[in-house]
């Protein structure tokens, strides 16, 4: 059984933040097609502020996730601030007291983040939101684990499903948020939240995969 250490894994969050900052222009461009184009700007601002606080400190994954979630929730606002803020703080809470994280704990962490999002938002899968990435990604991870796949192979399944979920939003009509006002005109464009969510999950998966080792 594979697992990774919670301590000193805060850098995973740092690379995740770098991914968002690097994709600042891309995310804003997607958002601009059906929103007001500030998704990348706001996300990069929040993730950048969190990265400043994490950089150079030897943090556990739990503490780094909590730092990120708190910054998003208290400094960013908009829709993504509370949604990702809740997701990351819930992630952090789930693994707070777990020294070595295995696939089961990781799954519990993902579910807890999803629950948090669903408690404050009202979107469902198919509404053209980040849930179209997050929900199938979690389902794929759980299915792979259940089939006896390793943690690392389950993470690969998660990334594939996240990206397929992101791409599925291209053919969806937005049902919630500002883009929902466009009706049919939101067709043919990726959802910015679903896109940033795929970036986040992929970066998280890569960071974990690099740290995996067989349980002692």
């Amino acid at each position: 059984m594979q697992q990774f250490q919670n301590v000193s894994s805060g850098d995973i969050v740092l690379s995740l933040a770098e991914q968002i900052i690097e994709n600042r222009a891309y995310l804003s461009e997607i958002d601009g097609k059906i929103g007001d184009g500030d998704h990348g700007v706001n996300m990069a601002k929040g993730f950048g502020m969190a990265a400043e606080r994490i950089k150079g400190n030897d943090m556990s994954l739990a503490v780094a996730l909590d730092t990120l979630g708190t910054v998003l929730m208290t400094e960013i606002g908009g829709s993504m601030g509370p949604l990702y803020g809740v997701m990351f703080t819930q992630f952090a809470e789930t693994i707070e007291k777990v020294p070595a994280i295995d696939a089961a704990t990781f799954s519990a962490m993902l579910h807890s983040g999803l629950d948090g999002i669903q408690a404050i938002g009202s979107a469902k899968v198919g509404d053209k939101t980040l849930l179209d990435t997050l929900v199938p990604a979690i389902t794929a991870f759980d299915a792979a684990s259940r089939d006896g796949k390793s943690f690392s192979d389950s993470l690969k399944a998660l990334v594939v499903a996240a990206e397929a979920g992101r791409d599925s939003t291209r053919d969806l009509v937005a049902k919630i948020g500002r883009a929902s006002r466009l009706g049919e005109r939101s067709l043919g464009v990726l959802d910015a939240g679903a896109t940033s969510c795929a970036l986040i999950l992929k970066s998280l998966a890569l960071g974990i995969e690099a740290r995996l080792s067989p349980a002692a």
Partner: protein, 330 residues
């Protein structure tokens, strides 16, 4: 477009700084730099009245802070909801011990952040009652009123609730009057030209020369139709027709009217629109008892105008007449 800005990422900070300096007799900066509070707030024993929303709509929301209006306002990034923490801090600044009403627009971010702030406030013993504005007729059908956006009708909601709270009403009474005020409001926007977020640098939607977008939202949300630009009289007639068509007011009803510019339309054009709007409204046997013409709720430099009509009953009319002392209203 050329702008008076320092750093495109610090437009909100710089706006707030200038605003507080200009209106220091009425407002102050909260302990959270993203909260503007009335100088007199909180008033012990008075229900606090707050709102919050994205920046770029000035004088909304901050300009409506003051006596008999809003006690505190949470300030968001341009066109982006304030954080839950800012809504919570606004409630703290406004709390005089009898609870706080948060009156805000129906946008996904605001809904979520207010919901979180309400939960956080509860933990420290502050009750936040909420009323969500949904006056924008074109943003959803009459059967889906709860989905409609809140726009300039919010001003009437703040005005009536602020005056009611000033009279010492209870939290339930202030919430009820705010709800009645917004229920009695209908609004529509017409866009003639887009706006640009400074940090983004290009407009995120376009309005072709010679056309107009009927039913446009405050962030450039598309309207119900794009059509060739008509004369002011024809546009005003359409706007009045759409607003009153959703309202079903009986002859003799008194109404209050706001004709607001969206940022780049000069006042004279608003008066040109109003000339026809007034004739259309009174022509239907309605009586206008109060009119506001100006830039009351803008959208950066969007070209266009909005019309809001609120049906009045005796109490709403009385509350609308109560004197206010805030930067945005005479």
């Amino acid at each position: 477009m050329q702008r008076f800005i320092n750093n495109p990422d610090e437009v909100v900070e710089d706006t707030v700084k200038g605003f507080v300096k200009a209106h220091a007799d009425i407002v102050r900066l909260g302990s959270n730099p993203r909260v503007i509070a009335a100088r007199h707030a909180p008033v012990s024993g008075k229900v606090g009245v707050i709102t919050g929303g994205g920046s770029g709509h000035e004088p909304a929301f901050i300009g409506y802070t003051g006596r008999n209006m809003l006690d505190a306002v949470a300030v968001g990034e341009l066109f982006s909801s304030p954080t839950a923490k800012s809504f919570l801090d606004a409630a703290r600044e406004a709390n005089g011990g009898r609870g706080v009403v948060c009156l805000y627009g129906n946008y996904a971010g605001d809904n979520m952040n207010v919901k979180m702030a309400t939960k956080l406030a509860e933990k420290e013993g502050i009750t936040i009652a909420t009323v969500v504005a949904n006056d924008d007729v074109c943003s959803a059908g009459p059967d889906e009123r709860e989905k409609r956006r809140g726009v300039a009708g919010e001003i009437f909601m703040w005005k009536c609730a602020g005056a009611k709270a000033g009279e010492g009403a209870s939290l339930e009474e202030v919430q009820a009057i705010a709800q009645r005020a917004i229920d009695n409001c209908r609004s529509i926007g017409v866009g003639l030209g887009p706006c640009t977020l400074p940090a983004v640098g290009h407009p995120n939607f376009s309005i072709e020369p010679g056309t107009m977008e009927v039913g446009i939202g405050h962030h450039g949300e598309p309207g119900v139709r794009v059509e060739p630009l008509k004369s002011a009289s024809e546009v005003a007639r359409d706007m009045t027709k759409i607003v009153l068509g959703d309202h079903n007011l009986t002859a003799g009803t008194e109404v209050a009217v706001i004709v607001s510019g969206l940022g780049a339309t000069p006042l004279n054009e608003l008066y040109i629109l109003h000339d026809t709007i007034e004739s259309e409204i009174t022509g239907r046997g309605l009586k206008i008892s109060k009119t506001y013409i100006g830039n009351y709720f803008t959208s950066l430099e969007m070209v266009g105008a909005t019309l809001t009509v609120m049906a009045l009953d005796e109490e709403l009319k009385r509350l609308l007449d109560v004197d206010v002392h805030c930067p945005a209203m005479p």
